[in-house]
Structures are given as structure tokens and as C-alpha cells.
């Protein structure tokens, strides 16, 4: 099991807690909660070791495009980058739904 955290400055609040995704092979769970700090903190837990350099640009790109102040937890079970991105978009849609 591997754990790593990325933080980015952020300004926009999100409205509510979101939980999307599935615990299961090739997928992941995303938990997104509003944060009062002016930053996004993304913590990734994964059983597939050795991919920190794949995660970093992917997460960075997403939170550069979407400026949100949130605490994000990702529990990964070997999702492809395409699935990770889609799950993050899905979580954001739930969390920021007006």
C-alpha cells in the first residue's frame, strides 16, 4: 500500500460532500469534502505501487482546470488514468451541483 498527498492553492468553495466510484478492480473511490482553507489537499491510497509520477501530472492538471478548495481522498484499485479523470469529474459534479 502506498500513500501520497498533493496540495494546491485554491479559492472556490464547493457546496457539499461527494462520494463516487466503486471499490473494485480497475476502479477507484473519490471522496470530496468542502474545505475552509484556501487550498486543495488530495490524498491518494493505492495498492498498485510505483506510479506516483503518473498520478502527479494527472492530479495537477485536473485541479489547475478546476479551482476548488476541498479535501479529496482517493482510494485506488488500479484504475487507468482515463477512469481517474472521469471519476474526479463525476465527484465535482456532485460536490458543486447548484
Amino acid at each position: 500500500m502506498e500513500n501520497f498527498t498533493f496540495t494546491f492553492p485554491a479559492t472556490n468553495k464547493i457546496d457539499r460532500f461527494a462520494h463516487v466510484g466503486v471499490v473494485g478492480s480497475g476502479d477507484l473511490e473519490v471522496l470530496m469534502e468542502p474545505s475552509s482553507d484556501l487550498q486543495t489537499e488530495v490524498t491518494i491510497r493505492t495498492g498498485i505501487t510505483g506510479f506516483e509520477t503518473t498520478w502527479e501530472p494527472l492530479i495537477q492538471r485536473f485541479f489547475t482546470q478546476h479551482d476548488i478548495a476541498a479535501k479529496v481522498k482517493i482510494n485506488d484499485f488500479g484504475a487507468t488514468p482515463g477512469v481517474v479523470k472521469l471519476r474526479l469529474e463525476q465527484a465535482l459534479e456532485v460536490a458543486a451541483n447548484e
Partner: protein, 207 residues
């Protein structure tokens, strides 16, 4: 030759594979032990198939392409089911698979084992571990209403092993667990062109 995601293809060895990135060392030894690759859900150029190589560790997965004419043999998940290849296997995980077989056969659902258990059955090489889940794929049909899916999911939860179910539709595959919990919201559909979010709804028929 028609191939579908999850099919296992027997090849000669690493020399049959083409890749844009450097082929890691473990790939050659993995294929020397069990010369099978799995068909990935991805597009490939004419004459090629997108395949994946499975190593012994969870972080050992490698995406490559295979020339169609290099295929020695194709084994589909449904073929493994037709042959009930697990009936004379002593390992406990195959008893779990027997329970699944009984359940799905009683509902006339077309299905097959995939992932590590499918690989072990096709290749004859030990692949599952004590902690392995049972991965299966089942074919979507018009009967697959939310209620029916819920019933199947409930029965599968009684299995002593964790059962991961992918449901195959013509457009792509989704996870049974996500469909059951979706409450008719869009769910993740894995297609040949990548994952998309899509609403899956089947009208309940009057009985």
C-alpha cells in the same frame, strides 16, 4: 478473427508484441511462464489487437499490441464456463466459482471468469492468491432491470469470496455494484474509446 475484451490469447512470446514504450524485463519472464495476453478494451490499428500482459505483482501490468496473425489460440471467458474447467480443481476459490455457476445458470445468464481466476483456468498456471477476488463478466440482456440486478448482487454477496462483476453491453461494460447503487444516475461505462458516464435504464416489464 473476432476478439473481445477479456479474451485470453496464446502467443509464442514477447517477440510477438509491439509497444510504443520500452518493454519491462518482467514481461518476458511472465510470458515464458504462461504465454497468454488479455485483450484490452482499446482501439488498435488495422491488423493489430490491443492486449495486456499480466505479471505476478499487482503493479506488473503492461499494455501492448499484437498482430492478429500471431494468435495461436483464443480462449473466451464463456468457453471456460462451458467446459466447467474448475470442477476438478481442489483450491477453495474454485468452490466459490461453483456457487456462482449454480446461481447464474439458474437465471440462464451467459457469463465467464476473468481476471486472475480466468487466467489461471486458461493457462493452467497458478495466478490466484489467498486474497484474490473472483472477477467475472456477465452479458447484459433485456431482463437486466435494476431489481433483477439487485437480486443477483445480493446472492453474489453471500459468496465467501469477494465477487467483482462486469456487465458487458454492446457499447461497453459497467460494474454491477455501481448499477445497483446508481439510483438511475449516470454510471461509468468502459468503451473501446475510453470511459464515459452514461445512464443505464431498463423498463420493468409486467409479469
Amino acid at each position: 478473427m473476432e476478439v473481445n475484451p477479456h479474451d485470453l490469447l496464446e502467443i509464442e512470446g514477447v517477440g510477438d508484441l509491439t509497444s510504443f514504450s520500452t518493454i519491462p524485463e518482467w514481461v518476458e519472464s511472465a510470458l515464458a511462464k504462461a504465454p497468454f495476453v488479455v485483450v484490452r478494451r482499446a482501439q488498435a490499428s488495422e491488423g493489430f489487437i490491443a492486449v495486456g500482459v499480466r505479471g505476478s505483482e499487482r503493479n506488473e501490468r503492461f499494455a501492448a499490441f499484437l498482430l492478429v496473425n500471431r494468435i495461436i489460440r483464443r480462449i473466451t471467458p464463456e468457453q471456460l464456463t462451458r467446459e466447467s474447467k474448475w470442477s476438478d480443481q481442489p483450491k477453495e476459490i474454485f468452490r466459490g466459482l461453483e456457487q456462482i455457476e449454480k446461481l447464474l445458470d439458474s437465471h440462464s445468464i451467459k457469463w465467464g471468469p476473468v481476471g486472475s481466476i480466468g487466467f489461471e483456468l486458461a493457462s493452467g498456471k497458478e495466478t490466484t492468491k489467498k486474497t484474490s477476488d473472483i472477477d467475472i463478466v456477465i452479458h447484459f440482456s433485456e431482463n437486466f432491470t435494476l431489481n433483477f440486478a439487485r437480486e443477483i448482487e445480493g446472492e453474489l454477496k453471500k459468496n465467501q469470496f469477494r465477487v467483482d462483476v462486469q456487465v458487458e453491453t454492446l457499447e461497453g461494460a459497467f460494474l454491477l455494484g455501481e448499477y445497483v447503487e446508481s439510483g438511475e444516475k449516470p454510471i461509468l461505462l468502459r468503451t473501446m474509446d475510453g470511459p464515459i458516464l452514461k445512464k443505464i435504464t431498463i423498463e420493468e416489464k409486467d409479469k
